[in-house]
């Protein structure tokens, strides 16, 4: 953590950059990191929490092995994205922002991935799946589940 913070400046403007970096290192913003970041920037832990909870990017809990992100954007919505999202929720048995008990999958939503013309779009750990139909959801999740 100290090593990581050393790379960054000590001004308020560095806060979001630091949070991005911490999350990419640890998968989330671990609670003990917050006072350390606050100290580095000479602000209060509350101020750090204020910022990190405002932005959707940051999470306080580590994600599952696979993060399934379903696009809820308008183009995907009118192309059947709502039904795809409902199916993913049903199959995983969790809602957005949650992680399955076996820590295999976390479910997230996003408001557009930028491949709207070929939606509905589902992204799993950064890998894009386009034109996803309800019937594709089961096999898609099964493929990830059975990966070594």
């Amino acid at each position: 953590m100290d090593e990581l913070l050393k790379e960054f400046g000590r001004e308020q403007k560095d806060l979001i950059h630091i949070l991005h970096k911490v999350q990419s290192e640890y998968g989330c913003i671990p609670a003990p990191a917050v006072p350390r970041i606050a100290e580095h920037l000479n602000i209060t832990p509350n101020e750090v929490y204020g910022v990190l909870t405002f932005y959707k990017a940051f999470r306080l809990q580590p994600p599952g092995k696979y993060t399934v992100t379903v696009c809820q954007g308008t183009s995907c919505h009118v192309r059947g994205g709502a039904a795809v999202f409902a199916e993913v929720k049903k199959q995983l048995g969790i809602g957005a922002g949650e992680t399955t008990a076996d820590r295999m999958f976390s479910l997230e939503t996003v408001n557009c991935f930028g491949c709207c013309a070929i939606g509905p779009t589902v992204v799993v750990n950064g890998r894009y799946h386009s034109q996803v139909r309800v019937a594709d959801v089961g096999p898609l999740l099964a493929r990830y589940r059975s990966r070594p």
């Binding site: 001004e11 308020q12 403007k13 560095d14 806060l15 979001i16 950059h17 949070l19 991005h20 204020g50 910022v51 405002f54 932005y55 959707k56 990017a57 940051f58 809820q72 954007g73 308008t74 183009s75 995907c76 919505h77 009118v78 192309r79 059947g80 039904a83 996003v110 408001n111 557009c112 991935f113 930028g114 491949c115 709207c116 013309a117 070929i118 939606g119 779009t121 950064g126 894009y128 799946h129 386009s130 139909r133 309800v134 019937a135």
Partner: protein, 573 residues
């Protein structure tokens, strides 16, 4: 490579690159934007490079990987230069045939060329395909020639010539006058004249000024900005350097939406290359002008697209908007005069300086100049990135370029302007697309989203969808937006569940007007528009839900379940 310390270095560099350019019989260009990657372009690239190597053709035939060619529906696709033959969508298995027949024997493979789904006519060349024919790709046309990893490709496409001209042949005031005379208006939504905005910022007395490129692109269903940044990042950087010179800024920031990782990577690489050759930093091209660029990654908040929130976010705070005035041009980033423009606005600047305001202002309509890029998406046959001159009609874009509605369905409306915009039903299809016509028709240009809807879209559900979005994305600072959007959303949810009352419509209208009038920033002020617009054009559909507990489109789950099942199935066709 040595730093460029004189404008003649740039000219010499370009000449050297042109001379060294390998002579090739043919070059295969693979579109590798977000849609391309999502559709499997990496496997196509891999197959191409493997087979070219196996056949010993690496020297004779070029392989270029570029950003998006625009035709997202037909990804992965390739263009074969110099002829401009277009093949797509492709599978890796198609590659051996392409190499053996087309690249080596010049034979066109009929199964891979584009066939118009309506007329079944085949088109070999990109320029003849109806999707491209009516476009005017001033900003996006170079995409097939530019590998965004290579600044050299941009230099060969006359890159940074406009900057050189601005720095050495024009005063800052002259640059502003040129941009003003071009008639360029902001592409981020409001359509404010760019030259005027620059002048305001320049006029402020201050020890320093900043410029910002708004690449937050938060409107769901729009992706022009990240495509520009991914496919041709240097044109945005060049536009910003010219703008900084005109305004008198020494630092700039590009704020890139978090959900656009490719764009972030490409523009960062481009920035680093520009620094390395002396196009950013101290004494650009040997002039007395210094300018550097920072790149900031957003963190997933729609309100960051609003300029005062964007500034708060760059400063490291919660992205909460504030009252204007003071406008950012007076007091922006760290309290200094700040000029914010959209990605596409910046991308137009080099073109204007290179070709002149007089040339530029001949494109478009009286009040809206140049071209505009649209994300043509939704229930459209040929979805993709479309660049057309201002004044093109909706019908030309949707029918001629977009090929009409998918799956043989009927056109219902087109949504423009994102969550603050509106819906235009069939009677508006002949409307020319420009800032003022769209506003007059009850919608807005927004940043260029064009979401086409067919009969299987429920307008009440879609209004609910938008309100769900805005009430979640409201920054929470002002009450009308925070509470009002939630109240509107809850009423819409009730209606879609068959629990609506007739009084709800009047209440929706009243709430909508209040939120519109009383909200602090553009997010709240625009939020009720989808509701007002659907109430205006599709009131009957609301009444069906309320009075007959029926969803005519068969979307609203709790209403008319048999219709729903069929509709959902058809939707995925």
């Amino acid at each position: 490579m040595k730093k460029l310390t004189d404008p003649s270095d740039l000219t010499a560099w370009k000449a050297r690159l042109a001379e060294q350019r390998p002579v090739r019989q043919k070059t295969v260009v693979v579109s590798n934007g977000t849609c391309g990657r999502a559709s499997g372009s990496s496997a196509v690239i891999e197959a191409l490079s493997r087979i070219l190597e196996e056949r010993g053709l690496q020297e004779a035939i070029g392989l270029e990987v570029t950003g998006c060619h625009g035709f997202c529906e037909r990804e992965p696709n390739i263009v074969i230069l110099p002829d401009g033959l277009f093949y797509g969508p492709l599978k890796p298995d198609d590659i051996p045939r392409i190499v053996d027949q087309t690249l080596l024997k010049n034979k066109v493979i009929p199964g891979l060329v584009y066939k118009d789904p309506r007329t079944r006519r085949a088109f070999h060349l990109l320029k003849d395909i109806p999707f491209y024919r009516k476009q005017m790709r001033l900003l996006t046309g170079d995409n097939v020639r530019i590998d965004p990893d290579r600044i050299e490709d941009y230099i060969l496409a006359d890159g940074y010539q406009a900057l050189s001209r601005a720095l050495f042949d024009m005063t800052a005031e002259e640059v502003i006058r040129e941009v003003d005379a071009s008639g360029l208006r902001g592409r981020g939504g409001a359509g404010f004249p760019t030259g005027k905005k620059w002048q305001f910022c320049r006029n402020e007395t201050a020890d320093r000024r900043y410029i910002i490129c708004n690449a937050d692109e938060g409107n769901p269903g729009t992706y022009m900005d990240r495509s520009i940044l991914t496919a041709n990042p240097h044109c945005v950087i060049e536009g910003m350097i010219i703008g900084a010179y005109a305004i008198g800024a020494a630092e700039g920031t590009i704020y890139v939406r978090m959900e656009a990782p490719h764009a972030l990577g490409q523009v960062t690489l481009a920035r680093d290359q520009a620094r390395k050759v002396g196009l950013l930093g101290r004494s650009i091209l040997g002039s007395e002008f210094h300018f550097d660029l920072h790149i900031v990654e957003g963190a997933g908040a729609y309100v960051c697209g609003e300029e005062t929130s964007l500034i708060a976010s760059i400063e490291g705070y919660r992205a909460v908007s504030r009252q204007r005035p003071p406008f950012p041009a007076q007091s922006g980033l760290w309290g200094r005069p700040t000029n914010i423009n959209n990605v596409e606005t910046w991308a137009n600047v080099p073109l204007i300086i290179r070709k002149g305001a007089e040339w530029y202002s001949r494109i478009g309509t009286a009040q809206s100049k140049g071209t505009k890029i649209f994300s043509l998406v939704g229930k459209i046959r040929n979805g993709g990135q479309v660049e057309v001159p201002m004044g093109t009609t909706l019908r030309e874009v949707i029918t001629d370029i977009g090929g009409g509605i998918k799956d043989g369905k009927k056109f219902k409306a087109v949504q423009t302007g994102g969550p603050g915009g509106g819906f235009l039903p069939a009677e508006f299809l002949d409307l020319p697309i420009d800032y003022d016509s769209l506003v007059k028709a009850g919608s807005t240009m927004g940043s260029g989203g064009m979401i086409v809807l067919d009969e299987t879209t429920c307008m009440v559900d879609l209004a609910r969808h938008y309100m769900h979005f805005t009430q979640e994305e409201s920054c929470g600072k002002c009450v009308p937006c925070r509470v009002g959007t939630k109240q509107i959303h809850d009423i819409l949810v009730r209606i879609t569940r068959g629990e609506g009352k007739e009084e709800d419509l009047a209440e929706l209208e009243e709430l909508a007007e209040t939120v519109k009038e009383a909200s602090l920033c553009g997010l709240g002020q625009g939020a009720p528009n989808p509701v007002l617009s659907t109430l205006r054009h599709f009131r009957g559909e609301y009444l069906e839900h309320i009075k007959h507990k029926r969803c005519p489109a068969g979307v609203c789950g709790e209403l008319s379940p048999p219709a729903r099942k069929g509709a959902r199935k058809r939707k995925h066709g």
